[in-house]
């Protein structure tokens, strides 16, 4: 019987305050690669992994969202509370709780640990970031703390490969009984924490906090702090265009060379057309933008790792409050710059239901990475590559402006949406993490994951849509004696011409209309769709590398600007709509979101087109 029990995986759950390193520990133990960052609220739902201890005991480990208390105030904290209490649907109560504490912030984290210990379940206390605590001069008497809490206490450094060896040893023979806290039953929690800190820790008087404080004096300054934030964003977008070009040129040459090789290798026919005009023209055009996406994420990851982002949230709280949003909306909206799907899920950290709904409605307005290829293509086609004053890259400046327009529009929309509701005050309570040098491993891993995500989207969504669009653009074949391009007689041409009356007031061509439909699946597909349409329909079939000159030749600047304006607001992809439905539990908000974004996109494009015509930038 004992053998049977030891071979069944023990159900353990990682709990703790936000940003204490639960997910880092989860990744270390299970070998997973879940997202970690140096700010609170990254994990918003339970995640599961498995591992076996050196002694051969199997574990099923849950990583739960961070919580400041088991009296939950937001949907993500409710998940933690319910799992710990054994009330989470479809999830039996964990047999072991592993309570993770940030050793550098015991005053806050011990409160939660005491709550967990009082749940009456076997518990292990894990002090993470023990190295950082020692660097600060903090000495923690682990055996004494263990005796006081009545539970085993171990120290770990979750970001180091061998940082959890003591914990793994302990997990070979985990505790089977609930902790017995050595405290007077009437002792108040804060008093217990104070007593534990006095009895179990010692910190020599040091003045090493001065550097962090000095940095914060500048970074959190209402004026200088905002200037630093704007400067960082500005440099980030400059880098996207300035640094990426050589690598993009190399990828572009590779894609063109591959297309040329296929063209020479295969005889003229349907398969060659599908490969060259459909798949290589479609997917190849999008792959070229990978270096720009990676540079953008390099900046975001460095800012994330360093602990700067929560400070940016703190800085923007006043601006966001003026639009009726709370600072808690910042992290979900920031996540939406990568993709609106995790951004919308991250709104679970927002306690106020109305704030959460408004943040969900705003998330698709943030410029997700899928828009970057569209912007990069249009900017490269219509904005000359030159520098202003010998320093500022004009293309980077336009990209910066497009991101800023989206942010300002989101603030405007939030202001309008919040006007109808009661104005409640929601003070921002946010834990500012310590500054850290970005870990090269984490940054490299983050970039690798981004590249894999991007390339898998190319390999699945974009390739399949390119094949379908190629088929729609090639069939039916033109009748005998037809003189126009074959695509004019195809289904895609027919659909484009049917849509044209609706989009002609925006200056769009029928080719753009064709690209708008697959662009709903994923925005970057609009780029591959344009490449396929022009490759199938054009005389020069090398659209994979020639799309930029084709667009700048065939479209006016007014059309290019109008399409950029469309994509600032363009209705979001199907995945985003699906996640909105799941998070709000109905279709109402889905229709509201799609409706208002479509309206805004149409209006912005129309105004941009009319303005550009008035400026003389229209078709000659």
């Amino acid at each position: 019987m004992d053998v049977l029990i030891e071979t069944l995986p023990l159900r353990a759950a990682l709990v703790g305050n936000p940003n204490c390193g639960k997910t880092s520990l989860f990744n270390l133990l299970t070998g997973s690669r879940q997202k970690v960052a140096n700010y609170a609220g990254v994990t918003v739902e339970r995640k599961e992994g498995r591992f076996t201890t050196p002694g051969g005991r199997p574990f099923r480990l849950l990583d739960l969202p961070g919580a400041y208390s088991l009296a939950a105030t937001s949907p993500d904290e409710a998940v933690t509370r319910d799992v710990c209490a054994g009330r989470y649907k479809g999830e039996p109560a964990p047999e072991l709780l592993i309570c993770v504490l940030d050793a550098t912030n015991l005053r806050l984290h011990l409160r939660f640990a005491l709550e967990v210990c009082r749940l009456g379940r076997p518990t292990i206390i894990v002090l993470n970031m023990l190295d950082a605590a020692r660097k600060e001069g903090l000495e923690i008497d682990l055996p004494r703390l263990s005796a006081e809490l009545g539970a085993p206490v171990v120290g770990v450094v979750a970001i180091r490969k061998s940082g959890a060896s003591d914990l793994l040893k302990l997990l070979d023979n985990p505790p089977l009984h609930a902790p017995v806290i050595q405290a007077d039953a009437h002792e108040e929690v804060h008093a217990t924490v104070r007593r534990l800190l006095t009895e179990c820790t010692s910190r020599p008087a040091v003045a090493s906090e001065a550097l962090e404080d000095r940095l914060d004096r500048w970074i959190l300054h209402p004026v200088w702090g905002l200037m630093i934030l704007l400067a960082l964003m500005f440099v980030m977008f400059q880098a996207v265009f300035s640094w990426a070009q050589p690598v993009m040129d190399a990828v572009d040459a590779g894609v063109s060379g591959f297309g040329e090789m296929i063209r020479q290798f295969l005889p003229d026919g349907l398969i060659r057309s599908l490969l060259v005009d459909g798949i290589i023209a479609g997917a190849g055009t999008v792959v070229v933008f990978l270096p720009q996406i990676l540079i953008l994420f390099l900046w975001i990851l460095i800012l994330e790792e360093s602990g700067y982002l929560p400070r940016a949230a703190f800085l923007l709280d006043r601006i966001m409050a003026s639009a009726g949003l709370s600072g808690r909306s910042f992290i979900p909206l920031l996540s939406s710059f990568a993709c609106a799907v995790p951004g919308i899920m991250a709104t679970r950290t927002i306690q106020n239901p109305r704030d959460r709904l408004v943040t969900i409605l705003l998330a698709p307005l943030m410029t997700c990475s899928a828009r970057l290829p569209v912007y990069a293509l249009l900017i490269a086609a219509f904005i000359p590559r030159r520098s202003i004053g010998g320093m500022v890259n004009q293309q980077g400046l336009v990209l910066f402006a497009l991101y800023m327009v989206a942010i300002l529009s989101a603030l405007g929309v939030a202001w309008v949406m919040k006007r109808g509701g009661a104005q409640e005050e929601h003070p921002l309570l946010m834990e500012l993490p310590a500054y850290r040098w970005p870990s090269l491993r984490n940054v490299a891993l983050g970039l690798w994951q981004r590249a894999v995500i991007f390339l898998s989207r190319v390999g699945s969504i974009i390739v399949t849509l390119s094949v379908l669009l190629w088929a729609l653009s090639s069939f039916p074949a033109p009748p005998a004696g037809a003189t126009g391009p074959a695509i004019d007689y195809s289904l895609a041409g027919w659909i484009g011409h049917i849509m044209l009356p609706v989009f002609a007031p925006l200056g769009f061509t029928w080719q753009i209309c064709v690209a708008l439909i697959p662009g709903l699946a994923a925005r970057e597909v609009a780029v591959s769709a344009l490449a396929t349409v022009y490759a199938v329909g054009g005389v020069d079939t090398d659209a994979a590398s020639q799309l930029i000159p084709i667009l700048s030749r065939q479209w006016s600047l007014a059309t290019g600007l109008s399409l950029m304006a469309w994509y600032v607001y363009a209705p979001q992809c199907f995945s985003t709509l699906a996640v909105i439905r799941r998070e709000t539990g109905g279709w109402k908000v889905v229709f509201q979101t799609a409706g208002y974004l479509f309206g805004l996109a149409y209006l912005a494009s129309f105004l941009t087109w009319r303005f550009a015509l008035a400026m003389g930038w229209g078709p000659s």
Binding site: L274, V341, I453, T464
Partner: protein
Amino acid sequence: MIQSLIIGFLVLVCALYWLGRLAPSVTQKLWKSTGALLRTVHAPSALQTAVAGRANAGPRGGCGGCKGCDSKGGGCH
């Protein structure tokens, strides 16, 4: 002729992929019917198992970038 057949097959696969993403309930019915047909014609068991796996698969979620969130109906974290 062979070229047309290959192209037709590829287009069908891509169309099924997108049908599965946009209307999973429709594709599930389709896979179930195909599974029943394969059993009737005594198709190779490996093929039957593969189709049965598709028929019983839950809806895919997330942005399509990876499979890390499929079981949770979407979201990277």
